[in-house]
Amino acid sequence: MKKIIALMSCVFGLFVFVNIYHEPQVNAAEKTYTIGTDVTFPPFVYANSDNKYVGIDMDLIRAIAKKEGFKAEIKPLGFNAAVQSLSSGQIDGVIAGMTITDERRQKFDFSTPYYKSGIVMAVAPKGDIKGLKDLKGKRVAVKTGTAGATYANSIKDRYGFKTVTFDDSDNVYNDVKNGNSAACFDDSAVLNYGVKTGLGLKIVTKPTDIGSYGFAVEKGKNKELMSKFNSGLKKLKANGEYAKIIEKYTGESATAAQKKNSTQANAEGHTFFGLIKQNRDSIIDGIFETIKLTVVSIICATIFGVLIGLLGVLPSKLARGTSTTIIYIFRGLPLLVLALFIYNGVPSLTGSKVPAFVAGIITLTLNEGAYTAAFVKGGIQAVDTGQMEAARSLGLPFGKSMRKVILPQGIKIMIPSFINQFIITLKDTSILSIIGILELTQTGKIIIARNLEGFKIWTIIALIYLIIITVLTLLSKWVERRIND
């Protein structure tokens, strides 16, 4: 019992540590705001070759923060996750090339527009699609939740095409390039920039006037941040800094340099080793985040699972019912739904933020813990009932009989299931990329968003997972041998 308590307090300590670690200290003078953004939306936001987030939006928010004296903590969550996190109050603002629309105004307050954009259609350069009329019966790629998607959906019946939705811009472009989709719709600034820097697509329509980009906060909240943004933007426009930033990312010299860069990177980065070398730091960070998630959630899920499993073999009907219910619920919920529910759903109900890492740990603890509880219960029930009867007939109380006789035998039965569950937990951490945790899978997505080397990067990521799984398996087998001796 003492050991269990010690272990529990360790884990609790870890939780607290993780919490503090993820919640940057608030400086008395400088207020910190968490700003969500997209993973890749050049020239507004993208990771450069040093894995720094740059682009018009990034430079703007940083410059404004400096002018107005606050700190902006940038969270590249992906457009969709960023918007959801904003509406559930997980983050303070979003700047992600977000078009101001009436529909969005229902939920968000927007700043004065900082960029005027429109929607254009891009196609593969060699194809025979020349305009909207050629799309009849074809497939069109769009990105979830963007103004491009809204526009495409509004005209698809008129022109007789179907839309297919992706989470990342590069998946959209790739789908057009490899011919699966006939065209894509996106903001003109983005596609213009892409075409100029060698994206390999061709723009065939004039921009439709659909409005401008704005910085967004949750409706009626964060008024202070909003007024700081507006006043900062005004100052930048007045002193010429704004024009410089726009020129930096869209001017001829900038795009030419970027084009040269990307061809250069392509030349040396075509090989696996080149790709690993280029992205070494972000891959290592991703590996560490994955390992951290795995280790913490294995510990928490095991403790939770063992407790719930033990509850399921107590003589009390209430205890057994509780155990069965918990197992039923958390084994039944898809991990993805559970993650989104805890990260986005719960905070929008209670109003308190849950850091993504903690939400991830809670998700895995509940889900993997439910599976663990089920086999812990099963393992104990698999021990011959005569063992318990013999122990009880000697006068040993239930708890002592459990600990000295039943559990040692049950654990042997459970060990293979434990090892199996550890490996599943490791693999399931990849699902947490949905809530923007920068673990290995999310890292892969971001790298691909930049260099479009899908096949090679996913191969590298897959190999890394296999290596970690092998190490984890060997470690578990070693522990198993120690226990069995």
């Binding site: 006068g395 000295k404 006789v405």
Partner: protein
């Protein structure tokens, strides 16, 4: 009349709609050896298991040494310390050595120190003829050896009463003798015993009283020579004919 050790009054036990014990009245005196016989399914095991509350009686009372075992307020763990039980399938603790099997309860319940328990375990294993198996794992023993360890384990708590549920019926014939020998020694030393068995030879030689059960009721009881030599009840007669013919 000798001291009453066990007093069972109008004991009933149902498993759902299956009425297994239909009102048993049954007594065991101090130092007495009672052998329970009866056809399969007559409720012998159930009666025995009600004596240490491995089964909860549906109604009626079981009083041992003045303790009402069937009362839920009774500290059943404490009561069980004085009631040893030996099972048909031994139920040795598979995760512990022979020595640890014997030492576990006295040490865990604070009756003996670890070193006292070791001395006691070795002595008990010696009396059942297994002093060389102290470090063996139960899986490596024969059935007869396992059952003798199980007896030693039950004796380690120094009980006043021993319950045996068909202790030899899972054994190869050549092993039966060793186990019965140990039980006879116990009886000679004055242990109060309730034994469910089909070993009629043992019953004749050792039992002070034989109780015949059928259909959840006590049909007949008496000294072995009375019950075996001159059974009064029809059910007893048919049962004994079958058993003896086998």
């Amino acid at each position: 009349m000798k001291n009453t050790k066990v007093k069972v009054t109008n004991l009933k036990k149902n498993f759902g709609s299956n009425h297994v014990l239909k009102g048993i009245d049954f007594e065991v005196a101090q130092n007495e050896v009672v052998v329970l016989i009866g056809p399969s399914g007559s409720g012998k095991s159930t009666l025995l298991r009600c004596l240490n509350r491995l089964e909860d009686p549906t109604s009626g009372s079981v009083v041992i040494d003045g303790n009402d075992i069937s009362d839920s307020k009774t500290n059943i763990d404490q009561a069980r310390e004085n009631i040893g039980m030996v099972f048909q399938h031994f139920n040795l603790f598979n995760n512990l050595t022979v020595g640890q099997n014997v030492e576990l309860a006295p040490v865990e319940l604070g009756k003996l120190s670890k070193s006292e328990a070791v001395t006691m375990a070795k002595k008990l294993l010696d009396t059942v003829g297994l002093d060389d198996k102290y470090d063996a794992m139960p899986q490596s023993l024969s059935g007869g050896q396992k059952q003798r360890v199980a007896i030693a384990r039950a004796l380690a708590m120094n009980p006043d009463i021993m319950l045996f549920d068909e202790p030899t019926s899972a054994l190869d014939p050549e092993m039966v003798g060793d186990v019965l020998e140990v039980m006879k020694d116990l009886a000679k030393k004055g242990m109060t015993m309730v034994v469910v068995t089909h070993e009629m030879g043992f019953a004749k030689e050792v039992a002070d009283r034989v109780v015949f059960m059928a259909d959840g009721k006590v049909m007949e009881e008496g000294k072995p020579e009375e019950v075996f030599g001159n059974p009064q009840n029809e059910r007893t007669k048919t049962f004994l004919q079958k058993v003896i013919n086998v």
